[in-house]
């Protein structure tokens, strides 16, 4: 290799690489071995010169990243990730092992961060978080695209161009997300050098071309450096800076640093940089011209450190990811001593075996054959990732994509987590925390103390958010305690205690971001994606609201909706709904926008609505009891939900409930059609929750109206009837009819008893109903008398459970009523028409006497003073 790169000049060894290319890394290593330089220059922020020595420490394990951030604003930061297979890392390792100095020659982060902040006033939307520093450095290359900075820092420009980048060709497009702002310059037609070259070579996929030509050629890449450099030169001659105008500044700086190094070390200098820059470094310009270019660049005070990185983040296309879609594969290519395909497939087989797939050595043999033949058919020199995965799918996985997804996740991307020695400078998250603590006047103290927060006050709300965010990050500085005083939603009590190991936790959490807010958001998003159960996500949503992480909410909501859609267990859904509805309410209190949340809640309720009736079939006693609890919880939640939704509109649900009972229930016998018509007639109005409530009632009516044959437990049917009655959606005589049906002789006594438990069980309210509606009491009484002696002992515990829950007063009143015994026969009471139709226990109410109190009651209730004639009974109650 020696000769080749040198061929271009007697001067320094210019090694143009593709960032994160394993082939490039091998070639760089070989080139350095072949003609050892006295200094190694690397494309990267010069601030890192001071800490590059850490890379040699035992505890330093790639992937890691250089992190530079503005000293006063940790949120403004840039990352330069380095993987074990990055050429830059290979060069650093070689240099440190041979005690050769390493220098970074790219534009200082001080400038690139400042430029990033300054330039894109409008364009860089995301800069706050990821200013995409100088991304140039490279590795980040593609990632940078994240590039909000694109416009700014320049990374954008460079990267795309860097051949290296090509690694992440996708990125150039993807960056779109954020880099979109860069669009301005993008329009000027950025040149993707690899695309141009590969097109010339007849490849449709630039990445594949690079892989075939460079990465898959083992170590023999010496000529490649020259060839690539020449190709780049030709490209640059044609396209100029190719739309990456910030490159000029960066390259000027690189040249200056290179000159400096040559003054010191002569020609024995090696430069590792993106291939795109190679021609620029060879250019003959004057130092003065370069200095001029660099004059007056904005500057900001920065700090730099090493942070651990992961393969998964390298693979990510957004944020700080490097856009390397297959870091695990590259790592393998770089580290495999020989026969990469055979070794790779053996690795895959090992993984599949661990996951209990029957994969034998014969499978591996056949997969290797298939991969190689495929490569030959596709005209590639060596089976690449695509060929091996196709072979694995066809031979080892029975053609299924499911195990392939596993292989991709575990091997192609991989779980590798980098490590950084403890001596590395502190992470910016700690600084941000310190700053926030100061501004909120919340000091970390080792002594435990209690803190009362009034969320209506700005500072207290900020403190609460900080503590909640820290909890999300696993930094348990404060633990929520039960408020002693008021239970209002605007009050929170915390128990604070700062323990030294929390600092370690903060350092660990540094992986997630540079500020408490961004780290907590990133963590919440990740948790939402990986959460297993529905309840877990619901809880997460609640915590996000508490912590004020509105940025994470969309993803959490999405994940919530997805899990709700796939969860077939109504019980799980029913458990999740109340918490969700609470969040909707709570969000209102905090002024958070909870529209999305409400939408998800309504969707969840819809699913419960559909799933509940079939789920109520064929339950045993315990199952029925649980289902009844779910039903009640959902009932309350739906009421709350519709109230919340309607808070703005004038129509209160109250009025509806109040006026409806006498009209609707009778007509609505068929639940499904009713539900539908109700919805449809109302669909014009934007009252989803209102329709929801009506449909929920219709569903309850269907449950209540079922006879025993679809084997719906009496408990459920009784409860459904009761919930309807309480809501005023069931006329009293309808209730009596249902009870009569449930208690008729055809029903098994235990079943009837459980219906009674469902209908009138559950606390004092249940008993009051019997006290006031003697018809119902009469039905129960008659049924009880008719229970045959042998069945009575079965029924007794159920009844006892039902009635013993009543207040003493209610029980006594009931007892008195029962003792009075059924009245002789026929309708009793003076008027007759106002009396209960069923045989009662005493004289019916005297409507005239009852009417006397009506005016007073109405006055007390603030109702229209003129009572309707036939409302007297009602009013009296």
């Amino acid at each position: 290799m020696t000769g080749a790169p040198r061929a271009r000049a007697t001067g320094p060894l210019l090694l143009g690489v593709r960032h994160h290319g394993p082939g490039s890394a091998r070639a760089v290593r070989a080139a350095l071995e072949a003609c050892p330089p006295r200094v190694v220059l690397i494309e990267g922020p010069p601030e890192a010169d001071a800490i590059v020595g850490l890379a040699a420490e035992k505890d330093m394990r790639p992937p890691v990243a250089l992190l530079a951030h503005a000293a006063d604003d940790p949120g403004r930061a840039g990352f330069w990730p380095l993987a074990g297979f990055s050429p830059e890392w290979a060069a650093i390792q070689w240099a440190l092992a041979h005690e050769v100095p390493v220098r970074f020659i790219d534009l200082p982060a001080a400038n690139s961060l400042a430029m990033a902040a300054k330039k894109p006033p409008a364009p860089a939307p995301a800069p706050a978080v990821e200013p995409a520093p100088a991304g140039p450095s490279d590795p980040a290359g593609p990632s940078d695209p994240a590039g909000p900075s694109a416009p700014a820092a320049e990374p954008g420009p460079l990267d795309p161009v860097d051949p290296g980048n090509q690694a992440a060709p996708g990125d150039q497009v993807a960056p779109g997300d954020q880099t979109a702002p860069a669009a301005a310059s993008a329009e000027r037609m950025r040149v993707d050098p690899l695309a141009v070259l590969s097109e010339a070579a007849g490849y449709d996929d630039p990445e594949r071309w690079w892989e075939d030509v460079i990465e898959h050629r083992g170590t023999g890449g010496a000529e490649a450096f020259t060839a690539v450099a020449e190709a780049m030169e030709a490209l640059r001659a044609e396209y100029g800076h190719g739309g990456h105008e910030d490159d000029a500044v960066r390259e000027a700086h690189m040249r200056l640093r290179l000159r400096e190094a040559r003054r010191e070390f002569g020609d024995e200098v090696a430069v590792v940089c993106g291939a795109w820059h190679v021609p620029a470094l060879g250019e003959r310009t004057t130092a003065t011209a370069d200095r001029k270019l660099l004059k007056g660049l904005p500057k900001v005070k920065t700090e730099i450190s090493w942070v651990p990185w992961t393969h998964r983040r390298l693979a990510r296309h957004s944020g700080y990811g490097a856009g390397i879609t297959s870091p695990g594969w590259y790592d393998h290519l770089f580290h495999a001593p020989d026969r990469p395909v055979e070794r790779w497939l053996t690795k895959v087989a090992g993984l599949l075996r661990d996951e209990d797939f029957a994969v034998s050595s014969a499978h591996v043999i056949e997969a290797v054959r298939l991969a190689e033949t495929l490569a030959a058919m596709r005209g590639r020199p060596l089976a690449g990732l695509a060929e091996t995965l196709d072979a694995v799918r066809a031979v080892m996985c029975d053609g299924s994509d499911v195990p392939i997804a596993l292989v991709r996740d575990r091997l192609v991307v991989g779980d590798i987590l980098g490590e950084v020695p403890e001596s590395a400078p502190a992470v910016p998250l700690q600084r941000d925390l310190t700053r926030t603590q100061r501004s909120l006047r919340l000091k970390p103290e080792a002594l435990e103390r209690e803190l009362e927060l009034d969320l209506r006050k700005e500072t207290d709300a900020g403190r609460s958010r900080l503590l909640h965010r820290l909890r999300l990050l696993g930094v348990d500085w404060g633990a929520p305690a039960v408020s002693r005083g008021s239970t209002g939603t605007f009050r929170e009590t915390w128990r604070l205690r700062w323990e030294p190991e929390l600092a370690v936790r903060v350092a660990e959490a540094g992986v997630w971001g540079t500020t408490v807010l961004s780290a907590a958001t990133a963590k919440a998003e990740t948790e939402a994606r990986s959460a297993k159960g529905l309840a877990e996500v619901t809880e997460l949503a609640e915590r996000c609201l508490l912590a004020g992480l509105s940025g994470a909410l969309p993803i959490v909501m999405r994940s919530l909706a997805d899990r709700a859609a796939l969860d077939a267990d109504v019980g799980h859904l029913a458990q999740a709904l109340p918490a969700l509805v609470r969040s909707v309410r709570y969000g209102d209190v905090r002024g958070t926008d909870t529209a999305a949340l409400g939408e998800v809640a309504v969707g969840l309720a819809e699913r419960i609505l559909v799933g509940l009736p079939p789920a109520c079939v064929g339950l045993d006693a315990d199952g029925a009891a649980e289902m009844r609890r779910h039903m009640e919880a959902v009932h309350r939640a739906i009421a709350l939900l519709s109230e919340t939704e309607m808070a703005g509109t004038e129509t209160g649900t109250g009025t509806e409930t109040g006026t409806q009972p006498h009209t609707q229930p009778h007509t609505q016998t068929d639940m499904s059609t009713t539900g539908m018509s109700t919805t449809e007639t109302r669909s014009a109005e934007p009252r989803a929750a209102d329709g929801l409530r009506a449909r929920w009632a219709a569903m309850l009516r269907n449950l209540a109206g079922r006879d025993g044959t679809p084997a719906t437990p009496g408990l459920i049917r009784g409860r459904a009837a009761r919930l309807l009655l309480d809501d005023g959606r069931l006329a009293e005589d309808e209730a009596a009819r249902l009870m009569g049906l449930a208690l008729s002789p055809g029903t098994q006594p235990p079943e009837a008893a459980s219906w009674i438990e469902g209908f009138i069980g559950g606390g004092a309210g249940g008993g009051m109903l019997l006290v006031h509606d003697e018809r119902l009491l009469g039905l129960v009484d008659r049924w009880l008398i008719s229970v045959p002696a042998e069945a009575f002992t079965d029924v007794l515990p159920l009844l006892r459970r039902t009635f013993s829950a009543y207040d003493t007063g209610v029980r006594r009143t009931l007892g008195e009523l029962v003792r009075r015994g059924p009245a002789a026969d026929g309708p009793t009471g003076v008027g007759g028409q106002g009396a209960p139709a069923a045989p009662g226990f005493g004289p019916g109410l005297d409507p005239d006497r009852a009417a006397a109190v009506v005016p007073t009651v109405r006055l007390l209730l603030g109702l229209d003073p003129v009572p309707h004639a036939n409302d007297s009974m009602e009013a009296a109650r």
Partner: protein, 381 residues
């Protein structure tokens, strides 16, 4: 001793039938229907060919996927789908591993296998149709009992199976619906595929496969009550799963075209309107099948039915018949609603919930789907 199988002798009946039928055949074999393309490809093909292959693997892939030859001949695409799948399938045949095509009904498994055999061996007729009653003789060999009784066991009394003939001649054999074949019969393939020989113990002889022999099997991975392949047999196959159409546009296109063909053969009146409904049927099928709405924003549960393109075609055809004979001649929501319900709700309990959820959470809200929602509610209730 090796027996040479008298291939011509046993094929002469089918050969005669083939000759007579070529012109009249309701459906000609692939190698006849596309003879021109195959010979143009063979002429243009300068790449290395495996032993006894009519074309190079590259040319076989081109034959299936379509393309234009240097001389301007246009090769029509036989299979519309990912290139990767065809490449893996062809490569598998070239590596002498057997190929197993899996997929739900209606994904062109048989079609692909026929064309592969036609392109590789120039003969797609060496076919064993798998059924629950397929005997071992269909895969190995049978006997001409008159000769067997008259002359005793001899190779003249042997009736070779298509697989045996393919082995002897180095051709591609096909087995349709392999998973319907009883397990013990399936396993006769193991020796054939691993040792590449077929012993004939009655004669103390064997047939050794000649280079170029290979086997393509198809199977349906969605059916219940089939005979799963033993792992020993499975290991002899490379498996390729044929996917459902990738985009809604493709699928609407396939459905409309097939529906038009079927409608013509049933002599249904032409319907001017109805593309909207077809699109709707395809959308419903795709969404339920994929478990996610078309915009990718809402996940759904998938019912137990397969909901293949073929079923979408039959729903639309049924709807057309309804509209033509009982309706106003325009395909409307009501005409397809019942068909959709029947296709989706296979398991009365679980699938019904899934369907209702889908109706309530997706269809109800969707712009312009009100009549469809109403029609579905009507038949579902």
């Amino acid at each position: 001793m090796t027996v040479t199988v008298p291939g011509t002798e046993s094929t002469d009946t089918s050969g005669a039938a083939g000759a007579a039928g070529a012109a009249e055949a309701l459906r000609p074999h692939a190698e006849d229907a596309f003879a021109a393309e195959l010979s143009a490809l063979a002429a243009a093909d300068d790449r290395p060919r495996p032993a006894r292959w009519r074309l190079s693997p590259w040319a076989v892939a081109t034959y299936l996927l379509g393309g234009t030859l240097p001389d301007g001949t246009v090769i029509t695409p036989k299979y519309v789908g990912p290139r990767r799948i065809v490449e893996v399938a062809v490569t598998t045949l070239a590596t002498d591993r057997a190929l197993l095509l899996l997929g739900v009904p209606g994904t062109a498994k048989t079609w692909v296998s026929e064309h592969l055999a036609a392109a590789v061996s120039g003969d797609s007729t060496l076919l064993v149709q798998g059924t629950a009653g397929t005997p071992e003789e269909a895969i190995r060999y049978g006997w001409n009992y008159a000769r067997l009784l008259a002359h005793g066991p001899s190779r003249d009394a042997l009736v070779p199976s298509p697989v045996m003939r393919a082995m002897a001649d180095g051709m591609t054999a096909r087995v349709e619906e392999l998973t319907r074949v009883p397990a013990d019969v399936q396993d006769t393939l193991i020796t054939i595929l691993s040792e590449k020989t077929l012993p004939i113990p009655e004669l103390g002889a064997e047939v050794q496969a000649v280079r170029g022999f290979n086997l393509i099997a198809t199977a349906n991975d969605r059916d219940r009550g089939v005979n799963e392949l033993s792992s020993a047999l499975r290991r002899r196959f490379n498996t390729v799963i044929l996917p459902l159409p990738a985009t809604p546009e493709d699928e609407v296109d396939i459905v409309s075209r097939r529906v038009a063909q079927i409608g013509r053969s049933l002599e249904l009146p032409e319907l001017p309107e109805g593309v909207e409904e077809i699109r709707r049927v395809v959308t419903v099928f795709r969404e339920l099948r994929d478990g996610v709405t078309g915009d990718g924003r809402t996940k759904l549960k998938s019912p137990s039915g397969t909901l293949s393109t073929a079923e979408a075609i039959s729903v639309v055809t049924g709807g057309l018949a309804l509209a033509a004979h009982f309706g106003d001649g325009v395909l409307r929501s009501g005409d397809v609603a019942a068909g959709i319900l029947g296709a989706v709700v296979r398991d009365p309990a679980a699938d019904r919930v899934i369907w209702q959820e889908y109706l309530e959470t997706v269809v109800r809200e969707r712009e312009g789907w009100k009549d469809f929602y109403r029609a579905c509610r009507e038949v579902t209730a």
